[in-house]
């Protein structure tokens, strides 16, 4: 894979389950704090709607999906929009490595949820580094 200026991190919209909120929070940590120069996000809904401007924005830019459930909405919608899928991360995999955390609160994440999001954000940031470096 060749090097890139940036990567787009797309969380699932996950409104029904806490893992959706964890994926979204992890994405914000990456784009706001960990990799603000090289990672950005976009509204997944725009892909669902088939917004042409957004589809153009994906063109040639590696995308990283952060999915909250096995339905893998973010990953599938990136593929359906013709985006370059560079990495696919699942909240459940991070959770399996940190079973001591029991996240709750879909509307507002609790402390466990925010901790889990921190762990996931590290994995997303590593993925951003890899795809931006072309590895």
């Amino acid at each position: 894979m060749s090097a890139h200026d940036k990567a787009i991190v797309i969380p699932c919209s996950g409104i029904g389950k806490v893992f959706g909120s964890v994926g979204r929070e992890a994405t914000y940590i990456v784009v706001d704090e960990l990799r603000p120069g090289t990672a950005e996000t976009l509204c997944l809904s725009l892909l669902v709607m088939g917004d042409q401007e957004t589809v153009e924005r994906l063109r040639g830019v590696p995308c990283i999906a952060a999915d909250g459930c096995p339905k893998a909405c973010a990953q599938k919608n990136i593929e359906l929009a013709g985006g370059m899928s560079a990495a696919s991360l699942r909240v459940v995999d991070t959770y399996k490595a940190h079973r001591e955390l029991k996240p709750e609160g879909v509307t507002v994440l609790d402390e466990s949820g925010r901790k889990l999001a921190r762990f996931l954000s590290q994995e997303i940031a590593s993925a951003v580094d890899r795809v931006v470096a072309g590895r």
Binding site: S13, I15, G16, G20, C43, S45, V48, A74, T107
Partner: protein, 245 residues
């Protein structure tokens, strides 16, 4: 006595990860589902219309649906109508809160001021839910077959998950032939069974009652009611014959 779940209104929020109005949309939707109208509402993740299967795509045909959009691009409305069915109502947060300060930092999380705006949007959504349920009830009451209504979803699940259609399951769908096209109708098996349990004859009166009852749980396109009514009566007559063998 056959049971079908209580009639609910679907709420589909835009995901809106890029803008604070998107976060207000999602949180307002959750407030309605969890606090304001937990027994009357259900939601689904908008991207599931593409990533999921037929059951997810039937959402807006199974429930009268309100789209809650953060911005004038109306992703929730257009995405739902493109992949599932017509929405019954739309709330656009940027229009509803026009003139009020929206802070960029709310994209990630709402402070007290942002939460108050989300509550304001949630109240607006709840009002629309009430209007839809009231109108639906009023429209069909005279001809409704009195199907027993459950207060809970068929499977016992934690309250938090009952509001998510991708896990709580929609109504059971029965497929029938309508004008040469195979159509799935939510709750039809229970409705037909209930009509038979009430001793209804397969006649013109029952035909109207079947149609009106089916309309409570399904979207019937304008101009097709006569075809649907004939198909329902045909299915009901077939059920009566099977029962009486």
């Amino acid at each position: 006595m056959p049971d079908i779940p209580r009639k609910k209104v679907g709420i589909v929020s835009c995901s809106g990860e890029e803008i604070p109005e998107g976060t207000i949309s999602r949180i307002a939707t959750r407030l309605v589902l969890e606090k304001l109208r937990p027994e009357d509402t259900v939601t689904i993740c908008l991207p599931l219309f593409l990533a999921g299967g037929q059951e997810e795509r039937a959402f807006a045909r199974s429930y009268p649906t309100i789209a809650v959009d953060g911005c004038p691009k109306l992703c929730a409305k257009h995405g739902t109508e493109r992949h599932s069915g017509q929405v019954t109502d739309v709330i656009v947060v940027s229009e509803l809160l026009n003139g009020q300060e929206i802070k960029p930092g709310w994209r990630r999380s709402l402070d007290g001021q942002g939460m108050r705006l989300a509550e304001q949007v949630a109240e607006a959504i709840a009002g629309r839910v009430d209007s839809i349920l009231k109108a639906t009830h009023k429209e069909v009451e005279p001809d409704l077959i009195p199907v027993t209504i459950q207060d809970k979803a068929p499977l016992s699940r934690p309250a938090q998950e009952q509001t998510c259609a991708c896990t709580a399951q929609g109504l059971p769908v029965m497929r029938i032939d309508v004008g040469g096209v195979s159509v799935g109708l939510a709750g039809l098996t229970a409705i037909l069974e209930q009509a038979y349990a009430l001793g209804k004859k397969p006649d013109q009166v029952t035909k109207t009652q079947l149609l009106e009852t089916v309309k409570v749980y399904n979207y019937i396109p304008a101009g097709t009611e006569a075809e649907y009514a004939e198909a329902l009566l045909r299915e009901y007559a077939a059920l009566c014959r099977r029962k009486e063998r």
